[in-house]
C-alpha cells in the first residue's frame, strides 16, 4: 500500500478486489493512525494487531463496537435528550433493533471462538432532538458503509449472510432518519459507498471514550 492510498481512503476503498482480512485491518489501523494520530486510535490499533489472524471474529468485533454505539445512542441518549413524535418512535424501534444486533454479533463472535469486545463508554455531543437526529443520520449511514466495506473481507459465508441481514436494517434506519430530517434517503444515489475502517473511525471514533 502506498502513502498516497493511506492518505486517500476513498481511493483505497475501491480496492475491494483481492483484499485480504489482514490487509483490511492493517490498512484501517494504519490509515486511522495517519489521519487521527496514534493516541486517538490506540485501542483500535492494539486490538487490530493483537487479533490479526482472528479473522472474521475481529471484523465482527469492529461491527460490535459500532452496534454498541448505536444501541447506546438510541436507548440512553435518546431518553436524555427527550424526543417526541416520530423521532421518539424511531429511537425506540431502532434502539431495540441495534440491541438485537449487539446480541447477535456477540453470539457470532463466540461461535467463531473469539472474544467479544466489552461495551465502550460513549459521549454524544447532542442536546436537542434536531442534533440527535443529525447524528443518528451520520451513525446509520456510517454503519451502512462500514458493513459494506468490511463484508467482502469476511471468509465465512454464514457470517457474511448475517452481516448482510444486519446492514440492510442499517440502510432502512438511515433512510427513515434522513427522510425525517428532510435529507435524501439515498445520499449515495444508486450505489452505497463502502467505507474503510479509517473512514468509519473518523465518524465514530470521537464518540468513543477509550
Amino acid at each position: 500500500m502506498t502513502d498516497y492510498e493511506i492518505a486517500n481512503p476513498e481511493l483505497a476503498a475501491c480496492e475491494v478486489h483481492g483484499m485480504t482480512r489482514a490487509s483490511f485491518i492493517l490498512r484501517g489501523a494504519l490509515a486511522a493512525g495517519a489521519v487521527y494520530g496514534t493516541a486517538s486510535v490506540a485501542p483500535f490499533v492494539s486490538q487490530a494487531f493483537a487479533e490479526t489472524g482472528g479473522g472474521d471474529a475481529e471484523i465482527l468485533n469492529f461491527a460490535l463496537t459500532l452496534e454498541y454505539l448505536e444501541a447506546d445512542f438510541y436507548t440512553v441518549k435518546g431518553k436524555q435528550v427527550g424526543l417526541s413524535g416520530q423521532a421518539k418512535a424511531y429511537a425506540g424501534q431502532f434502539g431495540a433493533e441495534e440491541t438485537e444486533h449487539v446480541a447477535a454479533l456477540t453470539a457470532a463472535i463466540k461461535q467463531l471462538g473469539g472474544t467479544p469486545v466489552k461495551k465502550p463508554g460513549f459521549v454524544f455531543p447532542v442536546t436537542s432532538e434536531s442534533s440527535f437526529l443529525e447524528l443518528a443520520s451520520v451513525l446509520e449511514n456510517t454503519g451502512v458503509g462500514a458493513y459494506n466495506g468490511a463484508a467482502p473481507s469476511l471468509q465465512s459465508k454464514q457470517v457474511l449472510a448475517s452481516a448482510g441481514s444486519i446492514v440492510q436494517i442499517e440502510a432502512r434506519h438511515a433512510a427513515a432518519i434522513d427522510l425525517l430530517i428532510g435529507k435524501s434517503p439515498t445520499p449515495n444515489q444508486g450505489f452505497d459507498r463502502p467505507l474503510t475502517k479509517a473512514e468509519v473511525l473518523a465518524k465514530a471514533g470521537p464518540l468513543i471514550k477509550a
Partner: protein, 230 residues
C-alpha cells in the same frame, strides 16, 4: 474448489426462465440454483445466527456447502448477475410507468423519479458486470404492472423493493468474485433504502422483518415477480 459438472435435475419454472436467461449454459446454472435447497439452508443459518435469543436451532449452522459446490465461479456469478439484471429491468420499467402515470406530485414524485433513475443505473452496472465476466447480459423482459391509484402503486412499490432487497441478500453468500460481491452489496442497501422510504409513504414499518432482514432465494423471488412479466 473445482468439481465436475452435475446433472441438472432441478424443477423448472420453464416459461419465466426461458425469458430470463437466454444463454444455454447460464440457463442450466440458473435452473440449478433456482431449484436448489442451498438458498433455503442459507436462510436457515441467518435465523440460527441472528435469532439466538429466541431460537435454539444451533444445529442449522452447518456450512452452506451447496453454495461452494458450483463448478465454475464465473458461471455462478453470471447467473446471479443476470438474475439481478432482470429484477432491475422490471423495477426500472415499473418506476418509469409510475412516473408517466402522473399519480404523484411534489416531494413524493421526486423520490419516485430518483428511485427509477437509480434502478436504471443498477441496470447499466449489472450489464457492465456481466460483460466484464465474459457473459451475455440477459434480454430486457417485458413487464406489466397494475397502475390504478397512488396508494396502490406505493403499496406495490413497497412490496417490490422489499422483494428486491431480499433477493440481493439471498445471493450475497453465493457470489464468488469479491468485486461482484461489493457491487451487489452497494446495490442491496440502496434497495433497502427505497423499501424503507416507501414504508413511510404507505404507513408501514420501515423494518417489516425486524432487526434482521430475511433473504429470499431465486425460486421464491421469481414466483413473486411472475405476475409482472408480460
Amino acid at each position: 474448489m473445482p468439481s465436475p459438472p452435475k446433472e441438472e435435475s432441478a424443477p423448472q419454472p420453464a416459461g419465466i426462465v426461458e425469458r430470463l436467461v437466454r444463454d444455454d449454459v447460464d440457463r442450466k446454472r440458473f435452473l440449478k440454483m433456482a431449484g436448489s435447497a442451498g438458498a433455503a439452508s442459507f436462510g436457515a443459518f441467518v435465523l440460527a445466527a441472528c435469532g439466538s435469543s429466541k431460537k435454539g436451532a444451533s444445529t442449522a449452522a452447518t456450512p452452506a456447502t451447496t453454495a461452494s459446490g458450483s463448478s465454475s465461479s464465473a458461471t455462478g456469478d453470471l447467473a446471479i448477475l443476470n438474475y439481478a439484471l432482470t429484477l432491475e429491468y422490471l423495477e426500472t420499467e415499473f418506476y418509469g410507468k409510475v412516473v408517466a402515470s402522473g399519480l404523484f406530485s411534489g416531494k413524493v414524485a421526486g423520490l419516485i423519479k430518483d428511485f427509477g433513475s437509480q434502478e436504471a443505473t443498477h441496470v447499466e452496472a449489472l450489464k457492465g458486470a456481466v460483460e466484464k465476466l465474459g457473459g451475455t447480459p440477459v434480454a430486457k423482459p417485458e413487464g406489466k404492472f397494475p397502475i390504478s391509484s397512488a396508494g396502490q402503486v406505493a403499496q406495490l412499490a413497497y412490496t417490490v423493493e422489499n422483494l428486491g432487497a431480499s433477493a440481493y441478500l439471498g445471493q450475497a453468500g453465493n457470489i464468488k468474485n469479491p468485486e461482484v460481491l461489493a457491487s451487489a452489496l452497494a446495490i442491496h442497501t440502496v434497495e433497502a433504502r427505497h423499501a424503507a422510504t416507501l414504508g413511510t409513504l404507505v404507513k408501514k414499518s420501515v423494518t417489516p422483518q425486524g432487526a434482521f432482514a430475511t433473504p429470499a432465494d431465486m425460486a421464491t423471488v421469481l414466483a413473486a415477480v411472475k405476475p409482472f412479466l408480460a
